[in-house]
């Protein structure tokens, strides 16, 4: 495990150094990513120009949901977002190379591409978080701080698990990779808004079967001290880490069985 972390740091460190070699390219890229992720927040602001509340949520509370969703998604994207290009490895047969190396295949895929430019999105989400926290009156307790702090890695693990399961589709159909977008990009978009505005079937499917409700909605209810408009049991507000652990397990097992299914294209 320690060894894996060491190797990961070496590999990612090398990529960061190489990406920073092209300064102008990096700056322009980061600038572009910053603004494209800003659109979603402009949409929130435009909506709240027309109404003061979405159900029981005001603009500051939605900004909080938005920030939590976009920061954790951006970190996930930075760490493993290159899984979007993974189908290419299957198509051209380059996945074979990973099979003969003395490390886990998933580890190699993740460590082989680290997109530093996506840090711009983390910055964008953080700005919104500062805005949200400075305008909200939260009665901070130790437990609230703890729930907020723990919700960040939990959300990253949940998003990562969705991404990994989605990437497994490539083992069966190489040009269907975009299916994953519905749950990754669609997932962060959904988590940016309070879940009680969605229809029941959509909430069940994307909130619980794919556990997006545990990314922001439940932790936010607890941190903001809101009563759940859906009237769901309160213990769910503490379940994000457990849900994250189960998601990671499911993702790991899915990847394993998918790799076993793999047949080389003959690269």
């Amino acid at each position: 495990m320690v060894d894996a972390v060491f190797v990961w740091r070496r590999l990612v460190g090398a990529q960061i150094r190489s990406q920073l070699q092209y300064r102008l390219s990096f700056a322009l890229d980061a600038f572009g990513s910053f603004w494209i992720s800003f659109i979603d927040f402009l949409v929130v602001l435009v909506i709240f120009r027309n109404v003061s509340r979405l159900n029981e949520w005001n603009v500051h509370e939605v900004a909080f949901l938005y920030a939590l969703s976009s920061i954790t998604f951006a970190v996930t994207d930075m760490l493993i977002g290159q899984l979007d290009q993974f189908p290419q490895k299957i198509r051209d047969g380059n996945f074979d190379i990973l099979l003969v190396r003395p490390r886990g295949t998933l580890f190699q895929v993740i460590a082989s591409d680290f997109a530093l430019r996506r840090v711009a999105r983390v910055v964008q989400g953080s700005i919104v978080l500062v805005y949200a926290l400075s305008t909200l009156t939260i009665h901070w307790t130790v437990l609230r701080v703890l729930v907020l702090v723990v919700s960040v890695p939990s959300a990253i693990v949940i998003f990562s698990s969705i991404w990994v399961v989605g990437a497994c589709i490539a083992f069966w159909t190489t040009d269907g990779g975009e299916f994953t977008n519905a749950f990754t990009y669609g997932g962060t978009a959904m988590a940016q808004y309070p879940f009680d505005i969605y229809a029941t079937w959509l909430r069940r499917l994307l909130g619980f079967v794919i556990p997006l409700a545990f990314v922001c909605y439940f932790p936010a209810l607890y941190v903001l001290g809101k009563t759940d408009p859906l009237g769901l049991p309160r213990f769910l507000e503490f379940c994000s880490p457990a849900v994250a652990a189960v998601s990671a397990l499911v993702a790991g097992l899915t990847w394993r069985s998918a790799v076993r299914h793999y047949r080389s294209a003959g690269g």
């Binding site: 390219s25 572009g32 120009r49 040009d175 990779g177 990009y185 978009a189």
Partner: protein
């Protein structure tokens, strides 16, 4: 006449290129459907506390969501890099040797691609949306005007894509510029949120710029928000932007070619 025949052959290839990846089409349509549901419920939550936003009622807004999701690939709103890559890897030199104007070539290709995306990426999400929500449908005349308007929207969008791709002639690191241009189109066209939800001054600006012509104008026409002189007016504006952007693209191309020749490319 021979020219038009060539255009037609190129357009057919535009259709076939995308028809070659059916699973990508299914997956993309699925993603548009999920986004359609999310946006529809978000906008409906707005209408819980008001009946009208900038001349749109709840039915208009939901129709807007499904129609714009269906148009997303037809007008190719997301990053289009093809020309930029050909410039970067030098294939553009071969393109310039051909007795065809590259802009005309890509326009013909795009006009072949667009109907494929309209049918296979556009219709399925719209039909699914129509099964779940009560959508609005146009009068026969508006339907006809919508088809004209959507075609102009494809040309306006193409004209802009051609220009930002041409940046690659001067800038090898074009990714940031392409991303930023895409961002501008998504927001100012009304793709992210209907222009009708925006403050009046901003909305009027978006309508006047080419971007409003890409999404908001065709949807307005579908919803019967424009008739008589106003309908002719918005179609005229679309036509103006289509021609203006193509002309600018042509100028950019000419300058770039001169530079290429100077470099001995």
């Amino acid at each position: 006449m021979k020219r038009v025949r060539v255009d037609w052959e190129i357009a057919k290839r535009g259709w076939r290129r995308y028809a070659a990846y059916p699973w990508a089409t299914v997956a993309g349509a699925f993603t548009n459907t999920i986004f359609g549901f999310l946006l529809a419920y978000i906008l409906l939550a707005v209408y819980r506390s008001r009946a009208d936003v900038g001349g749109f009622d709840a039915g208009d807004a939901v129709t807007y969501v499904w129609l714009s999701q269906s148009m997303i690939m037809t007008v190719y709103i997301f990053s289009w890099w093809e020309l930029a890559w050909r410039i970067r890897d030098g294939s553009i030199a071969t393109d310039l040797l051909r007795p065809l104007n590259p802009q005309r070539y890509w326009l013909a290709f795009d006009l072949g691609r667009a109907p494929y995306h309209f049918v296979f990426r556009g219709l399925p999400p719209f039909v699914l949306g129509a099964l779940v929500f009560e959508l609005r449908y146009p009068s026969p005349l508006d339907a006809l005007a919508f088809v004209v308007s959507l075609t102009l929207a494809v040309v306006v969008s193409f004209g802009f894509r051609f220009i930002y791709n041409s940046i690659a002639f001067w800038l090898l690191d074009f990714r940031g510029v392409v991303t930023l241009s895409t961002t501008i189109v998504i927001f100012f066209s009304g793709m992210a949120i209907p222009l009708r939800f925006m403050p009046t001054a901003l909305r009027d600006l978006c309508y006047a710029l080419p971007f409003g012509s890409v999404i908001q104008t065709p949807v307005d026409i579908w919803l019967g928000k424009r008739d008589g002189a106003a309908l002719l007016g918005v179609l005229g504006l679309q036509l103006f932007w289509a021609l203006a952007l193509l002309a600018i693209g042509q100028l950019v191309l000419r300058r770039a070619t001169r530079k290429l020749v100077v470099q001995g490319g």
